[in-house]
């Protein structure tokens, strides 16, 4: 289970990275970013997973003793929430940029934005 999740996450990360580095269309690059982020999120959750553990909510199932053995690590889950939010922000801003860039040049090809160099 963890292995699958781990592999999935790395595959996602690599696909995302490949997308960012190879796609010329800005929107596709942003999609690559999203994939990258998703992979990361899966990775975070996987890292916190404890085999057989339940959701880190203190209720009757978990009881109050030896809680940490029964639940998965709650911190990565908290982290992933933050990370998702941040990823959202980044994606939104990137899209805003993409819009602006399209307005300026009627193009979404990253190679068309090379005025600044050297």
């Amino acid at each position: 289970m963890e292995t699958i999740a781990l592999i999935t996450s790395f595959v996602l990360i690599l696909i995302g990275l490949y997308g960012i580095l190879s796609q010329k269309n800005i929107l596709k690059m942003i999609v690559g970013f999203s994939l990258f982020d998703t992979g990361l999120h899966v990775l975070i959750v996987t890292v916190g997973y404890i085999r057989g553990g339940t959701a880190p909510i203190l209720d009757q199932v978990t009881g109050t003793s030896n809680v940490s053995d029964k639940i998965v690590d709650p911190i990565p889950q908290a982290l992933v929430l933050t990370a998702i939010v941040i990823g959202l922000g980044v994606t939104a801003l990137m899209l805003a940029y993409a819009l602006k860039m399209y307005q300026e040049k009627q193009s979404l090809d990253i190679r068309d934005f090379k005025e600044l160099k050297w």
Binding site: V47, L79, T82, V90, L93, M94, M101, K114, L116, W118
Partner: protein, 1042 residues
């Protein structure tokens, strides 16, 4: 005193941002005031903590959020370091908001909120001790930055912002992976706990810590994976660029510093390597920039690289680490923010358009302040930082790192000072209107950098021994710069006289010679300034900077004082030289050689300090670490000032194109600073029985060849001042040679030459400079026949060249006589013969000088020229008096000098029998010779007058001209290229091989830079690829090394 908890920074900022968001677009002014209020609050909080921690009123304090102790909550640490950094961040945040008032105001609350959030996030990443928290706020900061970048209209800013987002997105993801694995391996996100599990990190979590550090390093824009940052620096609003360069970089550097606990030694090594490569590489590419803001971007990246290198190189336990770091950091922080702000005021992109600053002298002054602070000149903080850094690294034995740092600094100096030169010299355009809100932050930062410089200097080892009085004098002169020139001239003379009064009594004989040359010479060369009408803006501060530096040089007892004085003097002389009409290029090359020389001196001092304690100049006599090499570095450093062969190409232009009364200052006086350095060095080397015979033998040859090439160069000059400048090269070659002999006679020769050169070169440059001023041309072939118009100058020049040529009975002959004896006793026959040959070549240019200017045919347009002004003649005749006294009674000076030298050079002294000097080989009685020649001359004159009938005066064309009449004076005056035959025979010796070499070197550096910078293709995707490949490459290198 109540200390406001730093958590309130976050709270207040967020609260304010929230309200500002509520206010919407309508209440822009209110929200702007809220923004300022919040920023001011932040500043006050951090400032208060800084004050409290610095004065030990309060101890470092942890702030726990959510009522738990770590690791169950996020904690903030407010220590002295954090207080300093947050204060810096908040100040630039506040002033930046003021600076961008119109922009932020216009854009409404949205951009203001983003701005506030950026500042807050920077505060948090500095304070926070939680890894994930730091990550989050780094990300928040990046997003805020990207939001601010888009504030600037135009495609450039937008595409740069997108590139920025791409890069920071990748960096953040990498950091996140690192954070998550750290958590996986250590089970905590708290930095302090992570650090405690350091061994764990070493075993299993190496990659995670590597990724985190790598991410932070990438945030700091390592070369060459930094194209995205350059674009932002270039295109964003200058206020934002300033923020990025000073605040964001400062905060990120601090984060790196916090994280270094996680890095093992080997990673630290790579961090330092990355920093050094960035510093050198970025500055190398900066050389080719013509766009001011992009150039500043390169410089920023370079400086940050240096700071990264410092974090990696200097052990944090080293007592001086913080001093070095803060010194260089604040230098960069103030200067870069200031420069970006000025860039916003100037609006011009091309560095050649920056001369518009001349419309506002205050702005120009601030601009120069910042540029010089960046280049590490005193009294700015980066000078002290760099000094400590070099000393510290040397003592660790990290000479290679020192060299890299100096090379990088040198590249930086190249483009920054070229820029400074353009702004001082090129024709100014029109300056856009300057808003007060833009002006105030710049001024405050200008003041800040001086204040910080002073405080950092006081914290430096031996920094408190620095004498600031000359700088105070300079400051006073700067303030009263609006007064007419004669008042400032009197003030300067008074100040120089006062230095002389302080220094001369009780000075030991050897230093006394130089004190008199520097300061009395200073007074004499300042006198012609009375002739200048108007304000002569900027002249006197520069002159006093130079003379103050020279005075400090005499006073210096430790290496720091010496180097401080050396740099001050260089700076002053640079500003003096660049005042000449055509002297921009020449002042630039002068500065490059000087800075290069200064860096060699610094390196040398560093090597001297290895294995020794303290900084005393006496340590020069007990160098433990490669003594010959250290000695050679120092010697070469000093020889850039004395313009020895190979390092001389700056001199003719610099001295030739300087103003009429500046040329004597820099030629007669300033060159002796290099001699002074050499004298100190050689004395410390152990006098007669030293262990550096090979080195001094080489120096002797260099001196001889310098004399030959310098004098030969002078022969073929048509420009009167360049002729004198080349002659200076030659004379300094004699001096170098004479001192290298390392015997009492050799040193007496050296001193005699030094004193003589001071006197006759001042006379010659004053008269020739005055004539150039009167005639408006440098070309000798355009002069002629001026003896009838300027008899007093003629006499002065005549005496000058007789002394120069060493013809008895004047004092030049003392030098020649001593020289022969010294050379023959030492056994340096061939070098001696070359010097002698050079001496006879001096006749050629002496004759050309006096003949072409004063004799021959008077030109039509010079019929009405007047004698030189009194203020030019006065110092000349005082110096002539000096020459006469020294000629008739050389024992007045040489006897005490011999006594003083006897300690270091005991054998074969010069023996005095009354006025007669006896060496082992020969004898010479200057007084008798003077009497005999004088009497004889008078008798023979009477003889001629008795024998001749009344001589009739004729006009200029009454000459034998083969029965014809001359057509025009300019066709009859033979002056241009009169040594054509000589050129044909020996001209190959002065073929511009050395200039060619330096040109080749310059071109090489430039083309390397030009080639390398093509990696910045402008494509955001390539930049992303750079980033990823950079990580991979560094990772592979790193992994393969452990």
């Amino acid at each position: 005193m109540d200390f406001i908890s730093p958590i309130n920074v976050v709270a207040v900022s967020l609260g304010a941002a929230f309200f500002m968001g509520l206010l919407g677009k309508k209440a822009q002014t209110v929200s702007y005031i809220l923004l300022l209020g919040a920023l001011l609050f932040n500043t006050i909080v951090s400032g208060q903590w800084l004050y409290g921690l610095a004065t030990n009123i309060i101890d470092a304090q942890q702030v726990y959020t959510a009522g738990f102790r770590p690791p169950f909550s996020i904690n903030l640490l407010m220590g002295l370091d954090e207080a300093v950094i947050t204060t810096l961040v908040n100040i630039v945040g506040l002033l930046g908001a003021i600076y961008m008032a119109s922009g932020l105001h216009k854009k409404g609350s949205g951009s203001q909120v983003v701005y506030l959030v950026l500042i807050m996030s920077l505060n948090v990443i500095v304070l926070s001790r939680d890894l994930f928290n730091i990550f989050v706020f780094l990300e928040v900061g990046s997003i805020a930055t990207a939001g601010l970048i888009i504030m600037q209209k135009g495609i450039n800013a937008v595409s740069a912002g997108f590139k920025y987002m791409l890069a920071t997105g990748i960096i953040a993801s990498i950091m996140l992976i690192g954070v998550i694995f750290i958590y996986r391996f250590t089970g905590t996100l708290n930095l302090d706990f992570v650090m405690q599990s350091h061994p764990v990190l070493k075993q299993g979590a190496l990659i995670s810590s590597f990724l985190i550090l790598m991410a932070i390093l990438l945030e700091l824009k390592p070369f060459p994976a930094n194209g995205w940052a350059l674009d932002v620096y270039e295109s964003a609003h200058p206020g934002i660029s300033a923020m990025l360069s000073s605040a964001v970089a400062t905060a990120n550097l601090f984060v790196l510093y916090k994280f270094t606990g996680m890095a093992g030694e080997s990673l630290m090594y790579y961090i330092s390597l990355i920093g050094l490569v960035t510093f050198v590489g970025s500055n190398l590419l900066g050389i080719n920039q013509t766009n001011a803001r992009r150039m500043l971007g390169y410089s920023s990246i370079g400086q940050i690289g240096l700071l990264v290198a410092i974090i990696g190189l200097v052990p944090h336990s080293n007592a001086n680490f913080k001093l070095i770091f803060i010194g260089i950091l604040t230098g960069h922080y103030f200067a870069k923010a200031g420069l970006f702000w000025i860039a916003g005021i100037v609006k011009a992109q091309n560095i050649k358009e920056w001369s518009v600053l001349r419309n506002r002298p205050v702005l120009l002054f601030l601009f120069l302040t910042f540029v010089l602070a960046l280049t590490g000149f005193p009294p700015f903080p980066s000078f002290w930082g760099k000094w400590q850094l070099v000393m510290g690294l040397s003592q660790q034995g990290q000479i290679a790192a020192v060299i890299a740092i100096l090379v990088g600094s040198f590249f930086e100096v190249v483009y920054l000072l070229r820029w400074a030169g353009y702004s001082i010299k090129l024709e100014p355009g029109k300056l856009p209107e300057v808003k007060l809100s833009q002006f105030i932050p710049v001024i405050l930062f200008g003041l800040g950098i001086y204040a910080t410089g002073y405080f950092v200097s006081q914290a430096t080892n031996f920094g408190d021994t620095i004498n600031y009085i000359p700088l105070v004098v300079v400051a006073i002169l700067l303030v009263v710069d609006f007064l007419p020139a004669y008042i400032k001239n009197s003030l300067s003379i008074l100040a120089t006289g006062w230095f002389a009064y302080l220094l001369i009594p009780g000075q030991d004989t050897l230093k006394l010679v130089f004190t008199v040359i520097f300061l009395v010479g200073g007074i004499l060369t300042l006198i012609p300034g009375f002739h200048v009408k108007g304000k002569r803006a900027g002249f006197y501060p520069s002159a006093m900077l130079m003379f103050g530096g020279l005075a400090l040089l005499i006073e210096a007892e430790n290496m720091l004082q010496f180097f401080f004085a050396w740099e001050i003097m260089t700076l002053g002389s640079y500003f003096l030289i660049i005042r000449g009409k055509e002297s921009m290029v020449h002042a630039f090359s002068y500065m490059l050689f000087s800075v290069g020389g200064a860096y060699l001196i610094l390196l040398g001092f560093g090597m001297v300090s290895v294995g020794n304690t303290g900084l005393s100049l006496n340590l020069l006599s007990q160098i433990k670490f490669y003594p010959v090499l250290a000695m050679a570095l120092l010697a070469v450093g000093f020889m850039t000032k004395t313009a020895s062969l190979g390092l001389h190409i700056w001199l003719p232009g610099a001295h030739g194109e300087a103003e009429s009364d500046v040329s004597p200052m820099v030629s007669a006086i300033l060159l002796k600073a290099g001699v002074f350095g050499l004298v100190l060095l050689m004395l410390a080397a152990g006098g007669e029985y030293n262990n550096y015979q090979g080195l001094f033998y080489t120096l002797g040859w260099i001196g001889a060849l310098t004399a030959l090439v310098g004098n030969l160069g002078a022969v073929f000059q048509e420009d009167a001042k360049r002729l004198l400048a080349y002659s200076s090269i030659g004379q300094l070659g004699y001096i170098l040679f004479a001192f290298s002999i390392m015997s009492q006679l050799g040193w007496l020769t050296g001193f005699t030459y030094t004193i003589n050169h001071f006197m006759f070169k001042a006379i010659l440059f004053l008269s020739v400079g005055g004539i150039v001023m009167r005639l408006g041309t440098h070309n000798m072939y355009e002069m002629g026949g001026l003896i009838k118009k300027m008899p007093f100058s003629f006499i002065a020049v005549l005496i000058g060249i007789i002394t120069l040529a060493g013809i008895p009975p004047l004092s030049g002959f003392s030098g020649k006589w001593l020289f022969y004896n010294a050379v023959i006793m030492k056994g340096w026959y061939f070098q001696g013969a070359i010097i002698f040959f050079a001496g006879t070549i001096a006749f050629l240019y002496c004759f050309k000088l006096i003949y072409s200017i004063f004799l021959g045919q008077l030109k039509d347009n010079h019929r009405n020229v007047k004698e030189l002004p009194f203020w030019y003649l006065l110092p000349q005749y005082i110096l002539i008096l000096g020459i006469m006294v020294f000629s008739a009674k050389p024992d007045l000076i040489l006897k005490p000098l011999g006594t003083a030298l006897a300690a270091a050079f005991p054998s074969n002294p010069l023996i005095w029998e009354g006025t007669k000097a006896l060496s082992q080989l020969g004898y010479w009685d200057a007084t008798t010779i003077m009497i005999v020649i004088g009497t004889m001359f008078v008798i023979l004159l009477i003889w001629l007058m008795l024998m001749s009938r009344k001589a009739q005066n004729v006009k200029q064309f009454n000459i034998v001209y083969a029965g014809e009449r001359p057509e025009r004076p300019e066709l009859t005056h033979v002056s241009h290229n009169i040594y054509a035959g000589y050129n044909k025979a020996l001209g190959f010796l002065v073929a511009p091989g050395i200039t060619g070499f330096w040109n080749y070197a310059t071109n090489l550096v430039e083309s390397i830079g030009n080639f390398t910078r093509r990696i910045y293709s402008g494509n955001g995707q390539s930049y992303a690829i750079h980033l990823v490949s950079y990580i991979v490459v560094v990772f592979i290198i790193y992994i393969s090394s452990i």
